[in-house]
């Protein structure tokens, strides 16, 4: 009598190497021990803690300090991390992920956890090469190299990611010049009164706040002239200002380009149910890349912050292995003050 053939192990593929993706990978390994778990990332590094990135402007010089786990951890957990892989497309019909180098990877369940990249408003897109960024270790290092000691940083917009860095920059005695925009304090949505108070707090912290609207908005970013800082920001009213680096801090744009044309529902992000299911039963999405249906608000909305994103990774893993859990959050998305009178945000909360 032949023993019944056991089914082949399921292959859970995760696109994205951030908090949601790694949280899901860990839980998938626990819930489905026989399965294959693969993380695809275009990064050169293993999962690292982006909340620690401001530290590289102070005393953190080596990238291994940022890593959440050593490489051996993934080997022991049988989580296969494929670095420097750029996903070019997803083929839901054949359950394939296509990589830019023409390799295809089959999956049984797929988790899209690509997060977001720094949003650059279309009117500033042509100045992209002149901006400095902070979205990855490599980008943060490039910005650090471009910034002289006690240099001047111009932050356009001033989202909470940028303001987190601003605290560090002030601590190392850099000038921080914030040009306000409707995305200042993103992802917090403030009332006009709250915004005025929060801007006053920034000024009290030592940030130079410039009213972007009053100057008609940013018209151009140019290289600085000889003898002046490396960048010049020109406003529509003709005014200008200089900085050693200029950073766009306009919030995040979900990284969904490779999903366009797949038939998966997308608005700005991947649209998912509270169970984090996309419109394809084998594909899930978690983290900053997805818009989750809210029964209370009758709308799809984003949920940001470490705790929310980690919870999404967990929910996705549970449901990828047969669960029916719904994502729920009771995190208060508030902007407040700490004991020193500096602004503080739930967005910045990170649990070791």
């Amino acid at each position: 009598m032949n023993a019944a053939a056991s089914p082949p192990p399921r292959h859970h593929v995760i696109i994205g190497n951030g908090v949601a993706g790694n949280q899901a990978a860990e839980l998938l390994r626990d819930r489905d021990p026989a399965s294959r778990v693969t993380i695809l990332t275009h990064s050169r590094l293993l999962f690292y803690n982006r909340y620690l990135l401001p530290g590289i402007f102070q005393d953190m010089a080596n990238w291994p300090e940022l890593l959440a786990h050593p490489p051996e951890h993934y080997a022991a957990r049988r989580i296969h991390v494929r670095r420097e892989c750029r996903v070019s497309a997803v083929d839901p019909r054949n359950r394939l992920v296509k990589l830019a180098h023409n390799e295809t990877i089959p999956y049984d369940t797929l988790l899209v956890a690509t997060g977001g990249r720094g949003h650059l408003p279309e009117e500033l897109a042509e100045y992209r090469p002149l901006f400095h960024h902070f979205g990855s270790y490599e980008a943060a290092m490039a910005t650090r190299r471009a910034l002289p000691e006690r240099g001047a940083v111009v932050m356009l917009g001033g989202d909470m990611i940028g303001l987190d860095l601003a605290r560090t920059l002030l601590a190392i005695e850099c000038r921080v010049i914030l040009v306000t925009h409707e995305t200042t304090f993103w992802p917090h949505a403030l009332t006009p009164e709250e915004r005025t108070n929060a801007l006053a707090t920034l000024v009290a912290m030592g940030i130079e706040v410039i009213d972007g609207d009053a100057r008609g908005g940013v018209a151009a970013v140019e290289p600085g002239a000889p003898g002046l800082p490396a960048r010049r920001v020109v406003f529509h009213n003709g005014a200008d200002l200089y900085g050693d680096v200029v950073m766009p801090c306009f919030g995040l744009t979900p990284m969904v380009e490779f999903m366009v044309g797949t038939g998966i529902d997308i608005e700005r992000g991947v649209l998912v149910s509270p169970q984090l299911r996309t419109s394809d039963p084998h594909i899930f999405a978690a983290g900053d890349v997805c818009q989750i249906w809210s029964e209370e608000e009758h709308a799809y909305r984003f949920y940001y912050g470490y705790r929310n994103v980690r919870a999404m990774g967990e929910v996705a893993a549970i449901n990828m292995t047969g669960g029916q859990e719904a994502f729920a959050t009771n995190r208060v998305e508030s902007l407040g003050h700490d004991a020193q009178g500096r602004i503080d945000s739930s967005f910045w909360v990170y649990d070791e």
């Binding site: 296509k98 830019a100 279309e122 009117e123 897109a125 018209a219 608005e267 649209l271």
Partner: protein
Amino acid sequence: MTFHSDDPRDIGWVRENIPCQNACPAGTDIPAYIRAIAGGNHGQAYEINREANVLPGVLGRICSRPCESACRHGWAGNGDPVGICHLKRAAADLKDTRHRITERLYAPTGKRIAVVGAGPAGVAAAHDLSLLGHDVTILEREEKPGGMLRYGIPEFRLPRDMLEIELRNALRLGVQLRAGVTVGTTQGAIRVSTLLADHDAVLLATGCMAPVQLPLRGVPEGTDLSRHCQDVEYGLPFLMDLHRGQHKRVGRRVAVVGAGFTALDCARVARRLGGREVTIHLRTSEEYIPVTSEELFETKREGIRIKGLRTPVALRTDGDGRLTGVAFVQNRLGGWRENGRRLATPIEGSEFFEPCDTLIIAIGQRTVNDFLDMRVELDRAGNVRVAENGMTSVHGLFAAGDYVRGASTAIEAIGHARGIADRIDAWLMGRQRRRMVRIEAVAAPPRLPAHDFIPRCHMPTLPLAERQLLTGEVERGYTPELAAEEAKRCYLCDLRYQIDVDRCIYCRACIEVAPRNCIKLTRDVEIRADGSLGALRETREWRRVAAIWIDNNECIRCGACFKVCPVACISITRNHFVTVDG
């Protein structure tokens, strides 16, 4: 070696292996004109375009570009599609100023044909009918020809000097233009029945000019909202009034409802008219709207916001009847429509409010038939029903373009009208033309592998600070250098690589150098009912291999196989459709 073939295998090959040309409603020979541009022959490229589409300089600016959506270079893993439309424009812009257009004239037939409507369909049909030897009169209600092109598209997208030149070139060979003439049933108008009595055939190409009404709560069905509230406009009439010379005004906050080029044009015009906060509201999402990504990018770049998943359900006005905002409901993405567009499903209890001072409704256009003084059969959508030869239920009365098919694009209207012109000629003269495949030997691969790594050349655009006026063209056009570089990217899908199985020594050298899975061991190939070749049946067992076959669907025409073959058993031919008499 050059010859013509009507072998269904050759016809099927051309039909399936040149995706851009197959997607073009006018059937433009795209690889041929791109090859001409790569060689610096812009005039020749213009002529190749003009054989299929009499307005290349116009379409090179405003085409919806179905060819680029189909371009093999844009398939997964191949990069971005070739800038086919930008190259079309380059052919028009960069040709020699002394360039002479070529027209192939048939002898005069003495037949008289009236064309009603001087939009893209009417002009294309009138042009072709005049080349075929007929005396054509085109009647246009507006003061100038061009239809939607002149009155519906802003000048910052389509400069009127280019439109003027191409329209005049299209109509100057024997077409009599009577502009400012109304065809209809009103006093002083010319009746269709009169035209039929005076001509051998009449072609209706009046387009889709009536706005689709937006159903709103508290507003009786069929109500013209622009009369209901002075701050509400319909998109196409808004643009047409503007281009007729009327002074248009918008409020500080402008809401545009709609998802097509007209909606985007209205928003960009509103911005230039002083709208500070201009927002386009979509029922679905950006991914599913039928506009080009570049147009969408330029729209956003001009500061226009786009918000998705919402359906307007009611207007809000103040005590003076002035608009204060629009109530929307949230949508979910639903299934798919027959035309491939997404459906949106409103969500009960999700109503929300967006303040605005002006609302522009641009959700589509429909045909009107009230100008007809005779009974003509209509389909369920209210469009006129035509037989296969384009004739309506009335003998001698034909119809073409959007008037038959409903609102579409300029290139679809032109492509359809050219087909109908051909059929009118066949009906009048009994002349038949048919498509054959012209096959020409090509000595060596014209592409270099390095061409695969050229990124898409972006269209230079007008700086934002200079976009204050309604007239400054935003897209500035390729330089000759950019055009030549972009042209190199084309895979030249009209090139057919074939292995002569009688000479092949099965050394596998071609397979070894193939950059992808484009050379296949096959045991058989499907032969379809129409005689064309279908799917390859592959095998991995040598004893079953009947042939090594180049899968031209996978082939990127790099020529690596051709160069490595030790027995020169791989041939290259250029295959393209030609129309021949008889």
